[in-house]
């Protein structure tokens, strides 16, 4: 494809980078006065990108026509599906962030700009069809994320979270690079299609090491066990809007990336990496479930919950079928709604003076003092636990269905048993809110934007959404088909 054609495929990315740079200038010029303007403009940019990407998803773009720059980048329906989720999640973060940072007087116009650059990095990640593009996207996202984690400069925990994230992220990048170099060494190429052809049939032992190291490096990004240790600390320490961001958008990007690398580049050797994925999936489910039980901080609990959820998503990947990939995307969509909703509730937990509260005990008796808030969080928790009729159940259903259809009965059985262990701490939150005596510490009001986001997330996980499952499944199927066609 010629250069102009390639450029036309990356219009959303161009829009993101140009507007990011322009907004950075505005921020640098006007300083904190431009906070509001830059945030709004960043939201507008995300909305524009959403509109630019949506046609490729609805149209099910796939095949050679979506490959840009000689196979470095693919703007297919699979990438598009992930990008739409990334835009939506990032937009939600931009909506809730100003109120949070404003309380400390630390809202800066750089925040939305950093989010835009992180989104650009994620876009490159999900579209990458070459190990080099993959790494560039990953690092662009990571560098923005390190800064975002320590954005609350005066808070020790925030700085600690940023540093921890940086050190461990650098380690993971090293592991990933080592894997990439091994893969390159044994296949002679960094392009996914080339690796795919080289791995077809016989595979050298060194290439297997390469696959393992690449997956290990990526497992860090999706916080799958055994590379999850950073998650609870970073989630707890980072400012809550940033935690909301970490647990939604980058997770989508990293999971999509893992899917594309595993099925695209390493597709012919599915048997080789499947055991790694199955192990990571089951252990993530277990560690996520057991680790959450003892937590008293809601952000740490949600961190373990996200580890747990990644396990279920990986069950879909382990199926290594188009249905499995579609189920991953559907699970991610529901997961994003549940996560955003839960963290918006955390953001709305404030005492009379507006200080944020994070202890689970602060939720005690919330159903009597703030019924609407408690009701929404109850729905979100039951949904995360996978109890019908909420959408969290449907997400688990499609993933298990993919696993069972691919013949992974034992994995499916172990995963559902793990989901019961996980249910324990989700219903613990409901118990605290509904059965306990009111602690009545949550008194602060919230603006309409929080309520609107919470309402949207709650509706998105309510049984009403079963009516759009047909449409969603169609989109996800097209996206999965795109991945397998390129692959």
């Amino acid at each position: 494809m010629d250069f102009a054609g390639s450029l036309s495929l990356i219009v959303p990315e161009i829009v993101l980078s140009v507007s990011g740079l322009v907004l950075l200038l505005v921020a640098g010029w006007a300083g904190s006065r431009a906070n509001r303007l830059v945030t709004i403009l960043a939201c507008v940019v995300l909305a524009a990108c959403f509109a630019l990407t949506a046609p490729s998803v609805c149209g099910g773009a796939m095949g050679a026509g979506t490959s840009a720059f000689g196979g470095l980048f693919a703007a297919d329906a699979f990438a598009g599906f992930a990008k739409l989720m990334i835009y939506a999640a990032s937009g939600a973060v931009l909506v809730v962030a100003p109120a949070f940072f404003g309380r400390y007087g630390l809202m800066r116009a750089e925040f939305p700009v950093l989010v835009l650059f992180a989104v650009l990095g994620m876009n490159v990640m999900v579209s990458a069809t070459d190990l080099m593009t993959l790494y560039i996207g990953l690092e662009l996202n990571s560098l923005s994320s390190y800064v975002l984690a320590s954005f609350l400069r005066t808070d020790e925990r925030s700085s600690e979270a940023g540093l921890k994230y940086f050190v461990l992220g650098a380690l993971a990048s090293g592991i990933l690079l080592f894997g990439i170099s091994l893969t390159y060494g044994f296949t002679g190429t960094t392009a996914f299609t080339g690796i795919r052809n080289a791995l077809d049939g016989h595979m050298a032992m060194g290439a297997l090491f390469g696959i393992t190291f690449v997956l290990a490096g990526l497992a860090f990004k999706i916080s799958a066990v055994p590379f999850h240790m950073w998650t609870p600390d970073v989630y707890e320490g980072a400012p809550t809007p940033v935690t909301t961001f970490f647990s939604s958008a980058p997770k989508v990007a990293a999971v999509a990336l893992v899917a594309r690398v595993s099925l695209g580049a390493f597709g012919p050797q599915a048997e080789a990496w499947r055991q790694i994925v199955i192990f990571a999936a089951l252990v993530s489910i277990l560690v996520g479930a057991v680790g959450a039980i003892g937590q008293s901080n809601i952000k740490r609990l949600l961190a373990y919950s996200s580890i747990n959820n990644v396990g279920f998503i990986l069950v879909g990947l382990a199926a290594a079928t188009p249905q499995g990939v579609a189920s991953m995307l559907l699970y991610l969509a529901v997961y994003v709604a549940m996560t955003i909703g839960s963290f918006v509730v955390v953001l709305m937990m404030r005492d009379g003076e507006g200080r944020p509260l994070e202890a689970i005990s602060d939720l005690a008796g919330l159903s009597r003092t703030r019924f609407a808030l408690a009701f929404c969080l109850m729905c979100l928790m039951f949904s995360l636990a996978g109890i019908p009729p909420l959408m969290g159940f449907w997400a688990k259903l499609v993933v298990f269905q993919a696993a069972v259809n691919a013949g992974l009965f034992v994995v499916a059985v172990l995963a559902v048993v793990g989901s019961v262990i996980g249910a324990f701490y989700y219903i613990k939150i409901v118990k605290v809110m509904f059965f306990d005596e009111p602690a009545d510490t949550i008194r602060g009001g919230s603006d309409w934007a929080h309520w609107a986001l919470l309402a949207i997330s709650t509706i998105a996980i309510s049984p009403v959404m079963y009516l759009v499952t047909g449409w969603l499944t169609q989109l996800a199927d097209k996206a999965a088909a795109a991945l397998f066609l390129v692959a």
Binding site: I387, P388, V404, F409, A412, V413, V420, A423, F434, T473
Partner: protein, 504 residues
Amino acid sequence: MGAFPILSLMLLVPLVGAVICLLASERAARMVALVATLVDLGLGIVLWARYDVGGAQWQFTERLPLFAGFQWAMGIDGIAMLLIVLTVFLMPICILASHSITRRVPEYMATFLFMELLMIGVFAAQDLFLFYIFFEGGLIPMYLIIGVWGGDNRVYAAYKFFLYTLLGSVLMLVAMLWMAHEAGTTFIPTLMAYDFPPHAQTWLWLAFFASFAVKMPMWPLHTWLPDAHVQAPTAGSVILAGVLLKMGGYGFIRFSLPMFPDASLQFAWLIWGLSMAAVVLTSLIALVQTDMKKLIAYSSVAHMAIVTVGLFAFNTQGLDGAMIVMLSHGVVSGALFLCVGVIYDRLHTREIARYGGLSINMPHYALLFMLFTMASVGLPGTSGFVGEFLSLIGIYQVSTWATAVCTTGIILGAGYMLYLYWRVAFGVQRNADAAEMPDLDLREWVMLGALGLAVLWMGVYPESFLAPIRSDIAALDARIARAAPVSDSDLKTTAPKAARGGAQ
């Protein structure tokens, strides 16, 4: 009537009611809940009246391909119809029985209406996953009912109920996924006629068993039941005993037996063994209870064991009997929990020893309590007799030993129920406060009277309840006939004398 979606309407009414309740004041919520359940009762009566006995197996069917992977498929046969009628019959009574609930009434009423929606949905669903959604969805309202409005140890009971039943059900979900994959459909009537490979049947049966045995509950998986019953508010106990426990039995009738007949035979010994153990052991445990609700909870386990032996007798009488025991137990145990609730509201204790001689100051109460006690014991003329007698005839055709053990359990059942009645209603009035309790008021009369009439109707003229299920039971019997176990009682029940003579 024709294509009128009456089943969807029956689901919609409580849903709308629940939403209105959440927004309403306390008084209004009570009224809305009562009206909504009465409307559903009316629709249930219409359903029964319009049900064409001897007509198509599946009636009032609705199919809409609304969702991905499964569809909105509703439809009922006689078995489901009677269980739906039981549900809508008990619900207004539950709402009336919730008079003593004064905390967070709007939420309480909304939760109950949501519960009603899910219970009707379970019996009406014709799609595997739709069934599962209704089946499992019941966990949420029940968890809240026990946990928010329950007794002192409610949190423990709510957790136990939730996790126990969830663990049982998720295994069933994996089995359902496999069945949908294997058979290529999620439509239950098609699956009921699908022959799964015998080796797969074993695993599928065990997965479904894990779920239904916990819901039922079968010994030794019953331990959540006494806790849940004791801690739940009166209306919660009524719903739990009256309808939720029937979901297990319904599951065996709808799934385990017709879909996996070979595996059902293979594991019949397991069911008989567990049921025999349950009948005797839980009856003995019930004898030594000092808490009234616990005693009735254990008696529920014993009665459900009669249901399971009836079901796994593999013949018409056993299946008929199991259905009637389920319906009868739904009414009778519901009534017994209400009887406990009536005196609990007055004295706020369930200790049997705190009562005594109630027939002196509460003669009407004692009369109705006597009726339900006798029905639970299985006195001829009450509903309990019909069901137990048919079940025992069914199992006698297969195993005389099992019958002997189960009959012992029924005798023990008479023992603990009469012992309970004696301690509560007869004897001297030991406690002054119990002696001053007033007799039934109008509200309690209406609730218990309605249940009493149902008990007598079912006992005197069971044909009303047997007729709608006859063709369904016959179809089920034909489906499982090839797997029926060999009898050890050497009965010749099939051919009347004259016919046999003609054959010679």
